[in-house]
């Protein structure tokens, strides 16, 4: 189940190069955090790993297989964002079941498994709710369950807690770290909050200030 994610000499950016020569290796079940000021390309790096934004150079490997040219949906790389981005026309259960349905499960199977994933994030009994009746924290938990339900090889987290208030943020960050460890899912967590990064991750890297420089390890 658990997988390794590697980036080799990656160049990223929207059309023009924002950063290049980025290399990264995330071991199975390892949580790596990447910190850096806003605009440094953290989010773009994640988007390029997932394939949402095409890489401008270099390679992305999942379990040693070069997936750089693969479309997003084949990479098995899950992603959650700052906002939950729940699908507003689906209820909580169908949101979580979305990825399972794409794996070919029928609605009943997917729904059943979604209930399980909701239990991971502490939202038993929420499956039939419309998503607009969730609080911000609950919505982000649903997004997490949705991303993890289809068992991705790697989960990418793009500042998922920054829109929440401080107390909620800490609690949710701890829950997420627990969950990732329990499910032994490799993860890359991008944040501008060094404390949050340190609390969750096995390893913290810093985005390079200039293009062409490597990701540097932040000592603990």
């Amino acid at each position: 189940m658990t997988s390794r994610l590697e980036a080799i000499d990656l160049a990223i950016g929207h059309g023009t190069v924002l950063a290049d020569g980025l290399s990264l290796s995330v071991a199975p079940a390892e949580i790596v955090a990447i910190v850096g000021p806003s605009g440094s390309g953290k989010s773009t790096l994640l988007a390029s790993l997932a394939g949402v934004v095409p890489a401008l150079g270099g390679h992305v490997l999942v379990d040693g297989i070069d997936v750089t040219a693969w479309p997003v949906h084949r990479r098995r790389i899950g992603m959650i964002f700052q906002e939950p981005l729940l699908f507003p026309h689906l209820d909580v259960g169908d949101n979580v079941a979305y990825g399972l349905r794409r794996l070919g499960q029928n609605r009943r199977e997917a729904r059943a498994q979604a209930l399980e994933a909701l239990a991971w994030v502490g939202l038993d009994g929420y499956a039939d709710r419309p998503v607009e009746r969730l609080s911000g924290g609950q919505a982000q938990r649903v997004a997490l369950a949705r991303a993890l339900a289809p068992r991705p090889a790697v989960l990418l987290l793009d500042e998922p807690f920054s829109a929440l208030d401080a107390e909620l943020r800490q609690r949710l960050a701890a829950d997420v770290a627990d969950l990732l460890r329990r499910e032994a899912t490799a993860a890359v967590h991008v944040t501008h909050d060094l404390d949050e990064a340190a609390a969750m991750a096995d390893r913290v890297l810093r985005m390079p200030p200039e293009p062409g420089q490597p990701l540097a390890r932040v000592p603990r």
């Binding site: 949906h73 507003p88 794409r102 607009e132």
Partner: protein, 535 residues
């Protein structure tokens, strides 16, 4: 963000906003129709029977309208996508171009089509459907585009990381999110096609009919007023049902937070190609018939010539028909401005009323009803109500813009209401918590969105007025013809010059519209607020 929480802090006048559209509809729709109905019932001595064959005509018109709507959506959705979401060279022009077909007088569209396809494609259902789709592209592109521009496409990115291929992500995430605007625009296109007159008469070859063309035939050929009233009533019922259905569909979808519009460049090579192909497609599709007309305006006896353009100034000089083309232009433009102002105020307030509580928010649905009333019916009713003593508005020159506003208000509502509903009302609560008075808070929360969509919809309203012919032919003063009236009059007589000058005038109308729409779009984007973060 519970939908109801915010309305606690809505300013009190929102609760009364319905009064303006209510009074407008009462005065300029209900009263004329009642006056007309009363007159017909009042002893013209005929029995009111639904004319034979009405059901068949209605069914045929419904099938035709369905096909027109499907085609308009199929072509309009990619246009909405590209024009409203991507930044590329010529975007503003492409957006303005899309609006052109909508404002061309139907007579001009019909002629342009025939000039383009030649006699090879026979008149009939096919040509009518294609022309309806062409004319209504702007409705789809603008209404859906307004919502699409604010749709957060990271939803699709999420869907893709969850294993959805592009098409699946579009089908399961994008489309459902756009349901409100798609439903709203589809309902409008359906209604326009279902109750279409000009295109049906000109391209239908006589065999394709609508209830509207039946009404005209019953009033002006058979002078069968009770039959016409029955037919018009059936049309009103069908159209109202469709519009209410569309409105219900667009209301059912949940409220959601929209992002401020942020145009982007296409990210991938295939994306770039897609944007280029679609924008080039827009240009070709929209321009081909217009270019055919432009060529017609420059050809005289088989060679290139500016004769028709020069004749614009002199044609019919010294007659009662056309004072000067300049004055017709002035008339058309001032009617368009007044229509835009009336429609923006009336339609905007109807849309705002939706935010309020209680039954008054249904005014937005009622405001859409004028789309279903046949132009001939409105024209005759307005003449009876306001064209003779004691209430004679004809001399004020307001009858035409008022009639145009009646058609334009539903479009304004269709654009503004979904945008307001989609606005994050937490901002309202935040502003209120910060001590803003209700009106101030309202403007803080809804002002930016309101400004953009009101300008866009006012442009649409003005455009409707620029191209409208039916109501104008009933209500305009003979000494103040609009440009479409002039074009139609020119086309109503033989001679090479008539056709050539009509084509040249049509090109002038295209140019004015293009300038108007470009201006308003620019106004809309330059005043657009910087990205507002979620509170």
């Amino acid at each position: 963000m519970g939908g109801g929480d915010g309305s606690l802090s809505l300013p009190r006048w929102v609760g009364w906003a319905w009064l303006v559209p209510g009074a407008f509809l009462l005065a300029f729709l209900a009263y004329p129709l009642v006056a007309l109905g009363a007159r017909i019932l009042d002893g013209l001595g005929q029995s009111a029977l639904v004319p034979v064959g009405t059901g068949q005509v209605a069914a045929l018109a419904a099938a035709q309208a369905l096909a027109s709507t499907a085609l308009a959506l199929a072509v309009g959705l990619p246009m909405a996508n590209v024009v409203s979401r991507y930044r590329f060279r010529g975007r503003a022009l492409a957006q303005a171009l899309v609006t052109i077909p909508f404002v061309l007088p139907t007579v001009v569209v019909a002629l342009a089509f025939r000039s383009l396809v030649g006699p090879g494609i026979p008149q009939g259902l096919f040509l009518v459907v294609v022309a309806h789709a062409y004319v209504n592209l702007a409705v789809v592109a603008r209404i859906v585009g307004a919502q699409w521009a604010q749709h957060d496409d990271r939803h699709e990115a999420v869907a893709r990381t969850l294993g959805a291929i592009r098409w699946t992500a579009f089908r399961t995430v994008t489309l459902p999110a756009l349901v409100p605007s798609i439903a709203a625009s589809a309902a409008v296109v359906f209604v326009f096609s279902f109750s279409s007159l000009g295109i049906v008469l000109l391209l239908g070859g006589g065999s394709t009919r609508t209830l509207e063309s039946q009404v005209l035939r019953q009033t002006s050929v058979l002078l069968d007023f009770p039959g016409a009233a029955a037919t018009a009533a059936i049309q009103l019922v069908v159209v109202s049902a469709i519009l209410l259905g569309g409105a219900a569909l667009s209301r059912r979808s949940p409220r959601r937070v929209m992002r401020p519009i942020r145009l982007r460049r296409p990210t991938s090579r295939s994306g770039t190609i897609g944007v280029r192909v679609t924008s080039a497609g827009i240009a070709v599709l929209v321009l081909a018939p217009v270019l055919a007309l432009a060529v017609d305006s420059l050809r005289s006896r088989g060679s290139w010539s500016l004769a028709w353009w020069q004749a614009i100034g002199s044609v019919d000089a010294g007659t009662t028909r056309i004072g000067s083309p300049l004055s017709a232009l002035g008339t058309s433009i001032s009617y368009a401005l007044i229509t835009a102002a009336i429609a923006a105020v009336v339609g905007g307030l109807a849309a705002v009323a939706v935010l309020g509580r209680g039954p008054t928010r249904w005014i937005a649905l009622v405001a859409v009803v004028p789309l279903g009333v046949s132009a001939a019916t409105v024209g005759l009713g307005t003449l009876l109500a306001y064209g003779r003593p004691p209430l004679d508005l004809r001399a004020t020159g307001l009858l035409v813009p008022l009639a145009h506003a009646l058609v334009a208000v539903p479009l304004v509502v269709a654009v503004v209401a979904p945008a307001l509903r989609g606005t994050d009302d937490r901002r309202l609560a935040v502003a209120a918590c910060l001590g803003a008075r209700p009106t101030r808070a309202f403007l803080t929360a809804y002002g930016p969105v309101l400004r953009i969509v009101m300008l866009a919809s006012a442009a649409l309203a003005g455009a409707v007025s620029l191209g409208e012919f039916g109501a104008a032919s009933f209500l305009a003063r003979a000494t103040n013809p609009t440009v479409p009236l002039q074009i139609v009059r020119l086309l109503g007589r033989p001679g090479e010059e008539s056709y050539g000058v009509a084509a040249a005038l049509a090109m002038v109308l295209v140019a004015i519209t293009l300038v108007l729409v470009l201006l308003v779009d620019r106004l809309g984007t330059s005043r657009q607020p910087a990205a507002v973060g979620t509170p």
